[in-house]
C-alpha cells in the first residue's frame, strides 16, 4: 500500500493563531510527519533602525516596542548592556524595582499563555476567567508605570518612577488575590479532564530532544533541563528575593502548564519579597560617556533566554544591535514536537509554546 502525504498549512492567518506564523505540516492521515515554518511576517527592521535612526539613549524606548508582552525585558536587556559599556553601576533600589516589573510582566505573560492554552483546548470559560484575573496584574502595572502595556519604566542608569506606599499596598493586595486564584487554577489544571488528562502526553518534548534542539525557557524546564538565566547570571540579585527554579519532567503540554503555574507562584512570592525588603536610595544614576566596545547581556524573558549584543565606537549611534529572542531560538524544538502529533492537536500544542512572533520577526 502506497503512503500518500498531504500538506496542510497552519497560518499565517488562522483562527487559532494569535500572531502570524506559518507552519506547513506534511500529514499522513491525521499524523504530522514533517514540518516547515516561516516566521518573518511582521518584520519591522528594528535592529536596523537602532543603528541608523536613533541615538543610544532613545533605544530603550524603541526596543520596548518590539513586543507588548515582554517590553520590559527588552528595555532591561538593552539598558544593562549599555550600562556595562558605560561602566556604570545602578543603585540597589533601581535593581529591585526593575526586578519587580520584570516579575509582574512574567506573571501576566504566563497567565495569558495559560488562558490561550485553555481556549485552544476548547475551554472557553477558563480562558475568560484567567484573562479577567490577569487584570489585577495589569492594574498594578498601570499604577506603577502609568501605562498598561508600554511601561517606559526602565532607562539607562535606573528607573523613571519611584514606588509610593499606596502603590506598594495595592501591589500586595492584588498579588494576594492573584495568588489565591492561581491555587484555584492549579486545582483545575490537575483535576479537570479538559485541562489535565486531555493534555497529558500531547506535544511531548523529551529530555534528549530538548538538549539536541537547544530548547530554552519553560519549554526546556518542562522537559527536565535545569536552565534559567535568572540563576546563571548576576546582573540582578535574584537569589536575595527568593528565586527558585521550576523544573518538570514529562515535557508535554500538561507539564508546561504546571511550570508556568509554579513560576507565577514563585514570581508572586518574589514580588512580595521585593515590596517588603525594598532598599532606600536613588532610583537613577547619571551615567556619562558614550558606549564604546562590545557587550552581551542575557536575561530570562517569560518565554526563555533573551540575548542582546551591542557594539559601539564612542558615538551616539551604535554600530550594531543584535537581538536574539526566545521564540526564535526555540523554533527547531517546536518543529520536533509537532512531528508525530495529530494535526487536530497542533493549535493546542502551539499555544502551549507561548510563541511571540512580534519578538521573533522584530
Amino acid at each position: 500500500m502506497s503512503k500518500k502525504t498531504i500538506n496542510i498549512p497552519l497560518g499565517s492567518q488562522h483562527i487559532s493563531l494569535l500572531e502570524p506564523v506559518r507552519f506547513k505540516f506534511e500529514c499522513e492521515n491525521e499524523k504530522i510527519i514533517g514540518v516547515d515554518s516561516d516566521v518573518g511576517f511582521v518584520h519591522r527592521g528594528i535592529e536596523k533602525a537602532c543603528v541608523t535612526k536613533f541615538k543610544y539613549d532613545a533605544i530603550p524606548y524603541v526596543v520596548a516596542r518590539i513586543c507588548g508582552l515582554c517590553a520590559i525585558t527588552h528595555s532591561l536587556a538593552y539598558t544593562t548592556a549599555v550600562e556595562n559599556l558605560l561602566e556604570g553601576e545602578v543603585t540597589l533600589k533601581a535593581k529591585y524595582l526593575r526586578m519587580l516589573l520584570v516579575e509582574l510582566d512574567r506573571i501576566h505573560s504566563h497567565m495569558l499563555c495559560l488562558s490561550h492554552v485553555c481556549e485552544n483546548g476548547g475551554f472557553e470559560a477558563m480562558f475568560m476567567q484567567i484573562m479577567g484575573d490577569r487584570e489585577y496584574i495589569m492594574d498594578i502595572q498601570e499604577q506603577l508605570t502609568g501605562n498598561r502595556v508600554q511601561f517606559d519604566f526602565i532607562t539607562i542608569g535606573g528607573v523613571n518612577r519611584d514606588i509610593t506606599n499606596e502603590i506598594a499596598n495595592n501591589i500586595k493586595k492584588n498579588l494576594n488575590i492573584v495568588k489565591l486564584k492561581v491555587f484555584e487554577y492549579i486545582e483545575e489544571f490537575s483535576s479537570n479532564w479538559s485541562l489535565s488528562l486531555k493534555f497529558q502526553n500531547i506535544g511531548k518534548l523529551t529530555l534528549d530532544e530538548a538538549y539536541s534542539y537547544n530548547a530554552i525557557g519553560p519549554l526546556a524546564r518542562a522537559a527536565g533541563i535545569f536552565t534559567d538565566v535568572r540563576s546563571e547570571t548576576n546582573y540582578l540579585p535574584y537569589e536575595d528575593i527568593g528565586y527558585e527554579i521550576q523544573v518538570g519532567k514529562a515535557g508535554d503540554i500538561h507539564a508546561r502548564n504546571f511550570i508556568r503555574l509554579n513560576e507565577i507562584l514563585n514570581s508572586i512570592q518574589m514580588c512580595q519579597n521585593i515590596i517588603d525588603g525594598l532598599p532606600q536610595g536613588d532610583i537613577i544614576t547619571k551615567l556619562k560617556g558614550k558606549p564604546n566596545g562590545e557587550s552581551i547581556v542575557r536575561l530570562e524573558a517569560p518565554r526563555g533566554e533573551l540575548m542582546y549584543y551591542l557594539k559601539g565606537e564612542g558615538k551616539s549611534i551604535l554600530n550594531r544591535v543584535r537581538i536574539k529572542t526566545p521564540t526564535f531560538s526555540c523554533i527547531p524544538a517546536f518543529m520536533e514536537v509537532f512531528k508525530g502529533s495529530n494535526y487536530a492537536d497542533a493549535p493546542a500544542i502551539l499555544a502551549s509554546f507561548d510563541p511571540c512572533l512580534s519578538c521573533t520577526a522584530k
Partner: protein, 132 residues
Amino acid sequence: MKVSIKKAFQNLFKEPQTIDYPVSAIDKPKGYRGIIEYGEEECIYCLKCEKVCPPGAILFIHTETPSLNLKNKKSLEYNYNQHLCIYCGECVRACPKPDEALWQSEKKPTIGLKEDRVNDSWFEIEQLKNSK
C-alpha cells in the same frame, strides 16, 4: 470538576468585567502618562526636550510671529505632535524647568482625524525643520 461547574453557574449571574465604554468612563490611575503640555511663558528655549524626544514629537521651528518671551531670541515656535508622542516623559525629565515650562498631563490624546491634516501638517513642520 465540581468546583468549575459551580463557578460556571456563579459566573452566569455575575456582572461583566468589561467597562461599558464610552457610556461609562475608564478610571485612570493617579500618575497616568498622558499628553505633554507646554507653558510658553516659562520656556527658556534650551531645546533639550527636542533633542531627547525618542520619536521626534517635539520640534522647534522658526516663525515670523514669535512669542513675547524674551528668552525666545531665535524666534522659535514650539510644535508638539500628540499622536507621534509615546508619552515616555523623557522631555519633562530633561527640562530645566519641569512643571512650569513642560509637564506631563493625565489627558488622553484627542482622536486624530484626516480632516485635521494630522499627518500632512506634521510632515510640513518636519520638512521645515530638515531644510534648516
